[in-house]
């Protein structure tokens, strides 16, 4: 019987087999890469807010401490969005007639909340707690980035679970000194060269839990 296919089709068949595997691998890489890309994690997108509030100005230029407005950060799960009254502490006098602060004054007059746009959103099955991180020495800028340089805040970290775990497996790299000066709220803090060493020491002093406990499901999920 005569052969149906020419000898050269052997190459085509092998080539298509290899390319099928290659394309499948490429597709998998693309899917995994896309899921981790800022496109999926909403990283680096400055959110427009109802008022042009600049963290760069208030934190960077004026040197106002994070806790002046985010009063809950040391004692509760959420740092808290300040009430309009906190804005009015200064802006009842400063820029009291500025048109772009009208939404603030309006909110203060009418007792209607300003609807700030949420920038860092975690899935509802994650129970993140600010206070434990802050009190154990994890700095604001470790997760939130250089807020003091952001006119409009964007999400600086991916907030993926692997990103959380990266730190829960090696917490010592993020632990800052609490004494004699508390560096947690210092936006310009840089890890010193001996961070691995002093981080371990901080972890022991502050009774940071073991990696097994920190990476247990129920640490973050209920």
């Amino acid at each position: 019987m005569a052969q149906i296919f020419h000898r050269s089709t052997n190459f085509i068949s092998r080539f298509s087999l290899f390319s099928a595997v290659f394309v499948a691998g490429l597709a998998l890489t693309a899917i995994l890469g896309l899921a981790r890309s800022p496109y999926s994690t909403n990283q680096n997108i400055s959110r427009a807010q109802p008022v042009q509030f600049s963290h760069k100005h208030h934190v960077g230029d004026d040197g106002i401490d994070c806790r002046y407005c985010h009063t809950g950060v040391e004692t509760s799960a959420v740092a808290g969005i300040p009430p309009t009254k906190t804005c009015m502490n200064c802006h009842s006098v400063l820029y009291a007639d500025a048109p772009y602060l009208e939404p603030i004054r309006d909110s203060y007059r009418t007792d209607k909340s300003i609807e700030w746009v949420k920038v860092h959103r975690l899935p509802d099955f994650v129970y993140f707690n600010h206070s434990i991180h802050v009190n154990k020495g994890v700095g604001c800028s470790t997760c939130h980035g250089s807020i003091n340089q952001m006119p409009l805040v964007f999400q600086a970290s991916p907030l993926l679970m692997e990103w959380c775990l990266d730190c829960h497996r090696n917490p010592e790299k993020a632990l800052r000194p609490l004494e004699p000066v508390n560096e947690v709220f210092n936006m310009d803090w840089k890890a010193p060269d001996n961070q691995a060493e002093i981080g371990k020491q901080f972890a022991a002093e502050r009774h940071i839990r073991s990696t097994a406990e920190l990476t247990s499901c129920s640490t973050c999920h209920r």
């Binding site: 004026d62 040197g63 106002i64 401490d65 806790r67 002046y68 009063t71 799960a77 959420v78 808290g80 969005i81 009430p83 009254k85 906190t86 009015m88 502490n89 200064c90 009842s92 006098v93 400063l94 007792d111 209607k112 909340s113 609807e115 899935p123 509802d124 099955f125 508390n182």
Partner: protein
């Protein structure tokens, strides 16, 4: 169609329909029907999920704060004075007070420099050195002049820690030399003698 291919197509259709239904489900574990703190709510008329404290009710735990209320004209100090309290006061002072009152308490904070009304110095004229503790507590709680009250931002015990620190700030400029520890006094003597202290 063979029975095998019929099963195959049937399975495909089932998987597709489940996947399509999955797209339409608006509630999943990442978006649960619950209100996270400060989330908007369509349930309450004012659109807030956070509820204000009702009139004639006392928030749990807040009754202990009644012990910290001191009349305006009283110089009582309701907490034990400890180094920890002063340290706490220093930290809280730096967070909440320095924007206007300045690190040294002279009223030259960054926000004051930018056009906010300059608050009076804690040191000179001596009025604020002479006011009773209860007066300072009243001002931190309810405000005075251009300063709004800080009761929403600073819990009562921290307000007293801040007052203790303000008193320490005031003392720092008006302590008699004889109160200094000998080492510091030596240093001062050398400075006064024209040498440079080391």
């Amino acid at each position: 169609m063979t029975s095998a291919s019929r099963i195959f197509f049937g399975l495909c259709a089932a998987i597709l329909s489940v996947a399509a239904a999955g797209c339409k489900i608006e509630q999943d574990m990442a978006h649960q029907p619950k209100d996270k703190p400060l989330a908007p709510s369509s349930f309450f008329g004012d659109g807030r999920s956070e509820r204000p404290i009702l009139e004639n009710t006392v928030a749990r735990g807040s009754i202990a704060d009644d012990d910290l209320v001191v009349p305006k004209d009283s110089n009582a100090f309701p907490l034990p004075l400890t180094p920890q309290l002063l340290k706490r006061g220093q930290e809280r002072y730096k967070i909440y007070c320095t924007p206007c009152h300045g690190v040294q308490g002279d009223g030259n904070g960054m926000v004051a420099m930018r056009g906010m009304k300059h608050p009076p110095s804690f040191h000179e004229p001596p009025r604020l050195r002479e006011v009773p503790n209860g007066y300072l507590y009243d001002v931190t709680t309810n405000g005075f002049g251009a300063m709004l009250g800080y009761s929403a931002q600073i819990p009562p015990a921290d307000r007293w820690a801040i007052i203790a620190y303000i008193r320490a700030l005031q003392l720092s400029r008006h302590a008699p030399v004889s109160d200094l520890p000998p080492a510091l006094r030596d240093k001062l003597d050398k400075l006064n003698a024209g040498g440079t202290a080391k």
